[in-house]
Symmetry: C2
Subunit: 222 residues, 2 copies
Amino acid sequence: MKKIVIADDHPMIRGALALSLAATTAFGKIEVLETSTLAELLAYLNDSGEADLVLLDLRMPGVNGFEGLLTLRARFPSTPVVIISALEDPQLVAEALALGAAGFIPKSTPRHEIVRALNLVAAGEVYAPPHLDCPLTSEAGRVDAELAQRLTSLTPQQRRVLQLLGTGKLNKEIAYDLAIAETTVKAHVSSILHKLNVYSRTQAVVMAGRLHLSSFADIAEV
Amino acid sequence: MKKIVIADDHPMIRGALALSLAATTAFGKIEVLETSTLAELLAYLNDSGEADLVLLDLRMPGVNGFEGLLTLRARFPSTPVVIISALEDPQLVAEALALGAAGFIPKSTPRHEIVRALNLVAAGEVYAPPHLDCPLTSEAGRVDAELAQRLTSLTPQQRRVLQLLGTGKLNKEIAYDLAIAETTVKAHVSSILHKLNVYSRTQAVVMAGRLHLSSFADIAEV
DNA sequence: GCGCCAATAGTACTTAGGAACGAGGCCGGA
DNA sequence: TCCGGCCTCGTTCCTAAGTACTATTGGCGC
């Protein structure tokens, strides 16, 4: 019995995805749960242990970018996450996959294709929309792709630290939040700075912040 | 002879605005210049002194949010800046005006209304799209409005410092860039932190970064 | 068992950040 | 003319940040 969680603030989308899941054979017997906020999703995973798959909307109340994906990858590294999104910017897809998403399914994808995608993911493969031309080499996304590359080189705990860094917290506060010593936080921060090739926490925050939102800003203008 | 600069990366828009300017009587005799990048605009203003009006597109290559407006307000506080934008989110308008824009003209505005808006601005008034309902009280924009309010309380030099802070620069680097002593930079940073009601440069950067991009992210999802 | 790596944590050290003073110059408004 | 705000710069002091080591633990693959 596989546990699959759908996280999307739009009930209609959740319903459609649940239908597609029901039509997917590769998972065998499945149990589908739905949540409408990131907090709800995290609370559930914390209580009931890791799920076997998470379908995550990129845009949820209170979470604009890849924060949700990053959080999930950090706290539950072994749980595959498929990104669901109304947007299908190649750069966005590239970043999502670089950040460890197991797939990227635009909401405009036809049902049968969604089923095919889910079967792929169930088999451990990575799914990307086929009509997007080689996303990783798109010229505009090169910088972000490299940035995403660097972010993926972070360990789960380091991602947690980076996330808290992004809220402007002090090392001491981060240590308290993660229940570890401040020296350990410093060790993580040093490692993060090296991996991101910057020399101050502020620069690290700027880089991370860019990834969270830049993709949206770039396509906001019609 | 009034000097007016149009900054927009789209030639068609520039042309349309130039036409509207030609039909505007309140400025008297005018000289219209066009630039397609923010850097070009700044270079021109640096060389030839302040203009009498700048029409600035919100979305230019390399500048996603209010960075251009902030920069202009910081370096040339007495030059009125009218924001041109394809977007007309009330919150966006509120923020732009709070940041000192002399007006906000959506690209969908009909020609005669643009002329009316420019006449208003020429008379020292502030123009906002009339069909947007009391932008400053929109519930979702309250936080950002307050934030914008705080940012406007910064002095021009402090805005310059904040902008450099936003790139992750050290105090020493900021001092070098602005050709002032590091102690002076520290004084500015301290003042900025007080005004923004935060206690570290990183938090200040996060706040500023939120304003630059949040509006775009909030409306990116259709 | 052995080696690798993430995570933890410690010590010692240097530098950056920031607060809290004071103080002088400049400029525009009352 | 005086006052106040902005910008400048200095001193002193404390804390936060970051580096450079070392070391232990536990998991995971060979």
